[in-house]
Symmetry: C2
Subunit: 205 residues, 2 copies
Amino acid sequence: MSDAAIADPVGKRERTKVANRQAILAAARRVFAQLGYEAATVRDIIRGTDLASGTFYNYFRSKEEVFEALADDGARRFKPLLRAAREQARSFTDYLNGAFRAYFQFIVEDNALEGRPIEERRPHVRLDTPEMMAVYQEVRQGLEAAIARGAAPKVDADYLACACIGIAQEVGSAMLRRTPPDIGAAAEFAAGLILKGLEGAPRKN
Amino acid sequence: MSDAAIADPVGKRERTKVANRQAILAAARRVFAQLGYEAATVRDIIRGTDLASGTFYNYFRSKEEVFEALADDGARRFKPLLRAAREQARSFTDYLNGAFRAYFQFIVEDNALEGRPIEERRPHVRLDTPEMMAVYQEVRQGLEAAIARGAAPKVDADYLACACIGIAQEVGSAMLRRTPPDIGAAAEFAAGLILKGLEGAPRKN
DNA sequence: GCACGAAAATGACATTGCGTCAATTTCTTG
DNA sequence: CAAGAAATTGACGCAATGTCATTTTCGTGC
């Protein structure tokens, strides 16, 4: 085959490596959705691919690590959406609404993607992985920028970011429990709560 | 021994049963704190007691069930504090402050109790266990009562309860990361955020 | 093309933890 | 105190884990 030289921008080694990694992650998604995280075993995940058991361990050290990779994946996909919400926003109100909306939209799609059983069966999502911290940083920076330009009062930005994340998580879960989930209503609620609540939060410095 | 008849209000069977259960829970607390939930095995917990492996299964079916028992224990201890905050409160502001304060106080004590490594390594705390739902209900009822008597605007009580819980969890974690943790400041922040935020939340009905 | 070495895949295997159960001990009851 | 009910015990069968020597696949220089 004369086209061998031009066929791949990268070698086959590298290509199968990403493919295998993706295969494992896809299988893990399915298995976690089907059996739940706790009940799932590494072997279940492996069976969901056409790889040998030993190969799995070339990519991940454990079930936990696979889950973390999935979570990181989500964080990596979500962060740009958050950033976009910040850049497109015309006002602080706009920003909050857009950001919450983006998150709620995101989790609705993510949950519709996989198995029927609602993902109430997930382990604790570690917040200290780099990807997760990047999302936290993005939230915080968005808030700090608003504070800096006077669009929001000078409150404790760390606490405020945490509060926003906590609200997003819990109200998001509650929204998913409703049928059909109303993204707009949830976003309005969350943004409204934060917005008119800022004046009541203790000033910093 | 003539005092045998008056010695125990309950039989020895019952007493050792509670003692064993407590021993397992105490060992589990230690082991989870030391190794982290994921890494801990049922055998580790058993080794932390003077019981045989089979005995463990007379009390709990799995590691998960032990953890749930610990969480339920916390919920059972915390709910009365929340109720007390509601009953003692002179106003809605008072209630929110007291409730957040009670929670932050609670987690500070709970974390001081066990091993140095911060409990950032906990599994997802199931919210659908009866004890947990009871706490949610208490929160919700407190809020609904305030709404009913006009102390708070008519907002979606479910979302509001979830938002309060989310804020408590995340701001609580952030507070624990600081040294020393300032319970009063965290409570003021959380209560202030909710309070002045209510007017901004969309009205229901 | 070919051959050689590096890199990755394979699956059998030793290890470890899980949950059960027949045997044994401990307690209660009449 | 005897009888039996209840709880404990730990060895065992089983299942999942993670490793590693072997084999296969790919990249590189000739």
